[in-house]
Protein backbone atom coordinates (compact mmCIF):
# COMPACT_ATOMS: atom_id res chain seq x y z
CA UNK A 1 0.00 0.00 0.00
CA UNK A 2 1.33 3.41 -0.94
CA UNK A 3 -0.89 5.23 1.58
CA UNK A 4 -1.87 4.47 5.15
CA UNK A 5 -5.34 3.45 6.25
CA UNK A 6 -5.84 6.60 8.27
CA UNK A 7 -5.48 8.77 5.14
CA UNK A 8 -8.10 6.70 3.33
CA UNK A 9 -10.43 6.92 6.32
CA UNK A 10 -10.02 10.70 6.34
CA UNK A 11 -10.79 10.90 2.61
CA UNK A 12 -13.87 8.76 3.21
CA UNK A 13 -15.07 11.33 5.73
CA UNK A 14 -14.85 14.05 3.05
CA UNK A 15 -11.39 15.47 3.82
CA UNK A 16 -10.38 17.09 0.49
CA UNK A 17 -6.71 17.36 1.48
CA UNK A 18 -6.56 13.63 2.19
CA UNK A 19 -8.19 12.89 -1.16
CA UNK A 20 -5.67 15.19 -2.90
CA UNK A 21 -2.84 13.29 -1.26
CA UNK A 22 -4.21 9.93 -2.39
CA UNK A 23 -4.51 11.22 -5.97
CA UNK A 24 -0.96 12.60 -5.84
CA UNK A 25 0.42 9.26 -4.66
CA UNK A 26 -1.42 7.06 -7.17
CA UNK A 27 -1.84 9.26 -10.24
CA UNK A 28 1.50 8.32 -11.85
CA UNK A 29 0.83 4.60 -11.51
CA UNK A 30 -2.75 4.91 -12.71
CA UNK A 31 -1.69 7.02 -15.69
CA UNK A 32 0.89 4.36 -16.62
CA UNK A 33 -1.62 1.53 -16.32
CA UNK A 34 -4.19 3.38 -18.42
CA UNK A 35 -1.54 4.21 -21.05
CA UNK A 36 -0.86 0.50 -21.42
CA UNK A 37 -4.52 -0.49 -21.33
CA UNK A 38 -5.99 1.93 -23.85
CA UNK A 39 -2.96 2.59 -26.07
CA UNK A 40 -4.02 6.15 -26.93
CA UNK A 41 -1.77 8.66 -25.20
CA UNK A 42 -3.92 11.71 -25.95
CA UNK A 43 -6.87 10.34 -23.94
CA UNK A 44 -4.94 8.90 -21.00
CA UNK A 45 -5.31 11.92 -18.69
CA UNK A 46 -9.00 12.12 -19.45
CA UNK A 47 -9.57 8.49 -18.46
CA UNK A 48 -7.34 8.84 -15.38
CA UNK A 49 -9.32 11.88 -14.22
CA UNK A 50 -12.49 9.84 -14.66
CA UNK A 51 -10.97 7.12 -12.44
CA UNK A 52 -10.31 9.59 -9.62
CA UNK A 53 -13.74 11.19 -9.98
CA UNK A 54 -15.29 7.73 -9.65
CA UNK A 55 -13.03 7.08 -6.67
CA UNK A 56 -14.21 10.30 -4.98
CA UNK A 57 -17.88 9.40 -5.35
CA UNK A 58 -17.47 5.75 -4.40
CA UNK A 59 -15.12 6.07 -1.44
CA UNK A 60 -18.00 5.80 1.01
CA UNK A 61 -18.80 2.35 -0.40
CA UNK A 62 -15.35 1.06 0.48
CA UNK A 63 -15.92 -1.13 3.54
CA UNK A 64 -12.32 -1.43 4.65
CA UNK A 65 -9.19 0.52 3.62
CA UNK A 66 -7.38 -2.83 3.28
CA UNK A 67 -8.96 -3.40 -0.13
CA UNK A 68 -8.28 0.11 -1.36
CA UNK A 69 -5.73 -0.81 -4.06
CA UNK A 70 -7.78 -3.59 -5.69
CA UNK A 71 -10.73 -1.18 -5.50
CA UNK A 72 -8.75 1.52 -7.32
CA UNK A 73 -7.58 -1.00 -9.92
CA UNK A 74 -11.14 -2.13 -10.40
CA UNK A 75 -12.22 1.47 -11.05
CA UNK A 76 -9.29 1.84 -13.46
CA UNK A 77 -10.21 -1.32 -15.34
CA UNK A 78 -13.87 -0.25 -15.57
CA UNK A 79 -12.97 3.24 -16.81
CA UNK A 80 -10.56 1.81 -19.40
CA UNK A 81 -13.17 -0.71 -20.48
CA UNK A 82 -15.84 2.00 -20.84
CA UNK A 83 -13.40 4.11 -22.83
CA UNK A 84 -12.54 1.23 -25.18
CA UNK A 85 -16.19 0.47 -25.77
CA UNK A 86 -16.91 4.11 -26.67
CA UNK A 87 -13.79 4.20 -28.79
CA UNK A 88 -14.82 1.14 -30.74
CA UNK A 89 -18.06 2.90 -31.70
CA UNK A 90 -16.21 6.07 -32.78
CA UNK A 91 -13.38 4.27 -34.51
CA UNK A 92 -15.22 3.27 -37.69
CA UNK A 93 -16.52 6.82 -38.08
CA UNK A 94 -13.07 8.37 -37.64
CA UNK A 95 -11.40 6.05 -40.10
CA UNK A 96 -14.09 6.58 -42.68
CA UNK A 97 -13.50 10.34 -42.41
CA UNK A 98 -9.95 10.01 -43.71
CA UNK A 99 -8.90 8.72 -47.05
CA UNK A 100 -6.19 6.04 -47.15
CA UNK A 101 -3.73 8.58 -48.52
CA UNK A 102 -4.41 10.97 -45.64
CA UNK A 103 -3.85 8.19 -43.13
CA UNK A 104 -0.51 7.28 -44.76
CA UNK A 105 0.60 10.94 -44.86
CA UNK A 106 -0.26 11.40 -41.18
CA UNK A 107 1.68 8.25 -40.27
CA UNK A 108 4.69 9.35 -42.33
CA UNK A 109 4.69 12.82 -40.72
CA UNK A 110 4.52 11.30 -37.24
CA UNK A 111 7.30 8.84 -38.08
CA UNK A 112 9.53 11.59 -39.46
CA UNK A 113 9.41 13.55 -36.24
CA UNK A 114 10.07 10.65 -33.92
CA UNK A 115 13.60 9.48 -33.32
CA UNK A 116 14.75 5.91 -33.80
CA UNK A 117 14.11 4.80 -30.24
CA UNK A 118 10.63 6.20 -30.31
CA UNK A 119 9.98 4.41 -33.57
CA UNK A 120 11.13 1.15 -32.02
CA UNK A 121 8.78 1.69 -29.08
CA UNK A 122 6.00 2.54 -31.46
CA UNK A 123 6.58 -0.69 -33.39
CA UNK A 124 6.43 -2.71 -30.16
CA UNK A 125 3.24 -0.99 -29.08
CA UNK A 126 1.66 -1.59 -32.47
CA UNK A 127 2.73 -5.24 -32.51
CA UNK A 128 1.25 -5.90 -29.07
CA UNK A 129 -1.91 -3.91 -29.83
CA UNK A 130 -2.33 -5.84 -33.05
CA UNK A 131 -1.93 -9.22 -31.32
CA UNK A 132 -4.29 -8.25 -28.54
CA UNK A 133 -6.85 -7.48 -31.21
CA UNK A 134 -7.32 -11.25 -31.34
CA UNK A 135 -9.08 -11.23 -27.97
CA UNK A 136 -12.06 -9.33 -26.56
CA UNK A 137 -11.55 -6.01 -24.78
CA UNK A 138 -12.27 -7.62 -21.43
CA UNK A 139 -9.66 -10.34 -22.05
CA UNK A 140 -7.20 -7.80 -23.42
CA UNK A 141 -7.42 -5.85 -20.14
CA UNK A 142 -7.12 -9.04 -18.09
CA UNK A 143 -4.01 -10.13 -20.02
CA UNK A 144 -2.48 -6.68 -19.70
CA UNK A 145 -2.98 -6.66 -15.94
CA UNK A 146 -1.40 -10.09 -15.63
CA UNK A 147 1.38 -10.01 -18.22
CA UNK A 148 2.32 -6.35 -18.42
CA UNK A 149 1.27 -4.87 -15.08
CA UNK A 150 2.53 -7.98 -13.33
CA UNK A 151 -0.44 -8.44 -11.01
CA UNK A 152 -0.69 -11.80 -9.27
CA UNK A 153 -3.68 -14.11 -9.55
CA UNK A 154 -4.57 -13.26 -5.94
CA UNK A 155 -4.64 -9.56 -6.78
CA UNK A 156 -6.70 -10.20 -9.91
CA UNK A 157 -9.09 -12.29 -7.83
CA UNK A 158 -9.74 -9.28 -5.59
CA UNK A 159 -10.15 -6.93 -8.54
CA UNK A 160 -12.49 -9.14 -10.57
CA UNK A 161 -14.17 -10.84 -7.60
CA UNK A 162 -13.93 -14.12 -9.49
CA UNK A 163 -12.27 -17.27 -8.13
CA UNK A 164 -8.70 -18.08 -9.09
CA UNK A 165 -9.54 -21.14 -11.20
CA UNK A 166 -11.99 -19.23 -13.36
CA UNK A 167 -9.35 -16.55 -13.88
CA UNK A 168 -6.73 -19.15 -14.81
CA UNK A 169 -9.01 -20.67 -17.42
CA UNK A 170 -9.87 -17.27 -18.88
CA UNK A 171 -6.23 -16.20 -18.93
CA UNK A 172 -5.14 -19.46 -20.53
CA UNK A 173 -7.69 -19.15 -23.34
CA UNK A 174 -6.86 -15.51 -23.95
CA UNK A 175 -3.16 -16.23 -24.02
CA UNK A 176 -3.66 -19.10 -26.45
CA UNK A 177 -5.48 -16.78 -28.83
CA UNK A 178 -2.76 -14.16 -28.55
CA UNK A 179 -0.09 -16.83 -29.12
CA UNK A 180 -1.91 -17.94 -32.24
CA UNK A 181 -1.90 -14.35 -33.52
CA UNK A 182 1.78 -14.08 -32.57
CA UNK A 183 2.62 -17.28 -34.49
CA UNK A 184 0.73 -16.01 -37.52
CA UNK A 185 2.63 -12.72 -37.30
CA UNK A 186 6.01 -14.46 -37.04
CA UNK A 187 5.17 -16.76 -39.96
CA UNK A 188 3.97 -13.77 -41.97
CA UNK A 189 7.26 -11.94 -41.41
CA UNK A 190 9.30 -15.09 -42.26
CA UNK A 191 7.29 -15.85 -45.41
Amino acid sequence: MLVDFELIARAQQGDAAAFNEIVSVYRKRILGTITRLIARTEDVEDVAQEVFVRLYFSLDQLRTPKVFEPWLYRLTVNAAYDYLRKQRRRHEFRMSDLSEQQVMLADAAAGGKADQEEQQKKRIREAVDSMLGAVSEADRILLMLKEVEGLSLKELEKIYKVNENALKVRLFRARQRVLKAFDANVQGQAG
Partner: protein, 122 residues
Protein backbone atom coordinates in the same frame (compact mmCIF):
# COMPACT_ATOMS: atom_id res chain seq x y z
CA UNK B 1 4.11 -20.88 -18.02
CA UNK B 2 1.05 -22.07 -19.90
CA UNK B 3 0.98 -25.43 -21.62
CA UNK B 4 0.36 -25.51 -25.35
CA UNK B 5 1.87 -26.37 -28.69
CA UNK B 6 3.32 -22.94 -29.38
CA UNK B 7 6.83 -24.00 -28.37
CA UNK B 8 9.41 -21.29 -27.90
CA UNK B 9 6.99 -18.54 -28.91
CA UNK B 10 5.79 -18.56 -25.30
CA UNK B 11 9.07 -17.00 -24.19
CA UNK B 12 9.10 -14.57 -27.10
CA UNK B 13 5.62 -13.45 -26.19
CA UNK B 14 6.68 -12.90 -22.57
CA UNK B 15 9.64 -10.87 -23.79
CA UNK B 16 7.36 -8.82 -26.04
CA UNK B 17 5.05 -8.06 -23.11
CA UNK B 18 8.05 -6.89 -21.08
CA UNK B 19 9.23 -4.74 -23.99
CA UNK B 20 5.74 -3.29 -24.18
CA UNK B 21 5.92 -2.43 -20.46
CA UNK B 22 9.16 -0.53 -21.10
CA UNK B 23 7.78 1.14 -24.22
CA UNK B 24 4.86 2.50 -22.17
CA UNK B 25 6.40 3.55 -18.85
CA UNK B 26 4.52 5.24 -15.99
CA UNK B 27 4.14 8.90 -16.79
CA UNK B 28 3.86 12.16 -14.93
CA UNK B 29 0.51 13.92 -15.22
CA UNK B 30 0.17 17.39 -16.73
CA UNK B 31 -0.13 20.50 -14.57
CA UNK B 32 -3.87 20.64 -15.12
CA UNK B 33 -4.48 17.12 -13.89
CA UNK B 34 -5.57 17.88 -10.31
CA UNK B 35 -7.58 21.02 -11.18
CA UNK B 36 -9.26 18.92 -13.88
CA UNK B 37 -10.20 16.23 -11.37
CA UNK B 38 -11.75 18.81 -9.02
CA UNK B 39 -13.57 20.55 -11.87
CA UNK B 40 -15.18 17.25 -12.81
CA UNK B 41 -16.07 16.48 -9.21
CA UNK B 42 -17.65 19.90 -8.76
CA UNK B 43 -19.52 19.66 -12.06
CA UNK B 44 -20.94 16.31 -11.03
CA UNK B 45 -21.88 17.65 -7.60
CA UNK B 46 -23.63 20.64 -9.25
CA UNK B 47 -25.58 18.29 -11.50
CA UNK B 48 -26.57 16.14 -8.54
CA UNK B 49 -27.49 19.25 -6.52
CA UNK B 50 -29.66 20.74 -9.27
CA UNK B 51 -31.36 17.39 -9.77
CA UNK B 52 -32.08 17.18 -6.03
CA UNK B 53 -33.34 20.76 -6.06
CA UNK B 54 -35.66 20.01 -8.97
CA UNK B 55 -36.83 16.89 -7.18
CA UNK B 56 -37.56 18.93 -4.05
CA UNK B 57 -39.48 21.57 -6.03
CA UNK B 58 -41.49 18.84 -7.73
CA UNK B 59 -42.35 17.20 -4.41
CA UNK B 60 -43.38 20.55 -2.89
CA UNK B 61 -45.60 21.42 -5.87
CA UNK B 62 -47.18 17.95 -5.79
CA UNK B 63 -47.87 18.24 -2.03
CA UNK B 64 -49.40 21.72 -2.46
CA UNK B 65 -51.60 20.51 -5.32
CA UNK B 66 -52.76 17.51 -3.26
CA UNK B 67 -53.59 19.76 -0.32
CA UNK B 68 -55.47 22.24 -2.52
CA UNK B 69 -57.48 19.44 -4.14
CA UNK B 70 -58.25 17.97 -0.72
CA UNK B 71 -59.54 21.31 0.56
CA UNK B 72 -61.56 21.86 -2.62
CA UNK B 73 -63.24 18.46 -2.29
CA UNK B 74 -63.85 18.78 1.44
CA UNK B 75 -65.31 22.29 1.73
CA UNK B 76 -68.56 22.07 -0.36
CA UNK B 77 -69.66 18.83 1.34
CA UNK B 78 -68.99 20.33 4.71
CA UNK B 79 -71.04 23.52 4.14
CA UNK B 80 -74.10 21.72 2.79
CA UNK B 81 -73.97 19.19 5.60
CA UNK B 82 -73.70 21.94 8.14
CA UNK B 83 -76.74 23.74 6.68
CA UNK B 84 -78.91 20.61 6.85
CA UNK B 85 -77.67 19.08 10.05
CA UNK B 86 -77.71 21.99 12.43
CA UNK B 87 -80.86 23.88 11.41
CA UNK B 88 -83.41 21.01 11.54
CA UNK B 89 -83.51 17.32 12.29
CA UNK B 90 -84.57 14.54 9.94
CA UNK B 91 -88.26 14.46 10.90
CA UNK B 92 -88.59 18.20 10.55
CA UNK B 93 -87.04 18.09 7.15
CA UNK B 94 -89.39 15.25 6.15
CA UNK B 95 -92.40 17.12 7.42
CA UNK B 96 -91.36 20.22 5.50
CA UNK B 97 -91.07 18.25 2.33
CA UNK B 98 -94.52 16.54 2.79
CA UNK B 99 -96.69 19.15 4.45
CA UNK B 100 -100.26 18.17 5.69
CA UNK B 101 -101.64 21.13 3.76
CA UNK B 102 -100.43 19.71 0.55
CA UNK B 103 -103.63 19.20 -1.60
CA UNK B 104 -102.15 16.31 -3.59
CA UNK B 105 -102.07 14.12 -0.54
CA UNK B 106 -105.00 15.04 1.70
CA UNK B 107 -107.44 16.95 -0.56
CA UNK B 108 -111.05 15.65 -1.44
CA UNK B 109 -111.40 13.17 -4.23
CA UNK B 110 -113.10 14.70 -7.28
CA UNK B 111 -115.06 12.50 -9.69
CA UNK B 112 -116.14 13.66 -13.14
CA UNK B 113 -119.61 11.98 -13.16
CA UNK B 114 -120.84 13.79 -16.27
CA UNK B 115 -118.15 12.34 -18.45
CA UNK B 116 -118.75 8.88 -17.05
CA UNK B 117 -122.58 8.98 -17.86
CA UNK B 118 -122.07 10.04 -21.49
CA UNK B 119 -120.11 6.98 -22.28
CA UNK B 120 -121.98 4.47 -24.59
CA UNK B 121 -123.28 1.27 -23.03
CA UNK B 122 -123.93 2.79 -19.64
Amino acid sequence: MYPGDHGNHEEELDALFQAYRKACPDREPGVNFMPGVWQRIEAQQRNTFSFLRMERVFVTVAAAATLALGVYLYLPQNSSARAGAYQQNYLEALADANSVETPDIVGPLRLDLRRDSNQPGR
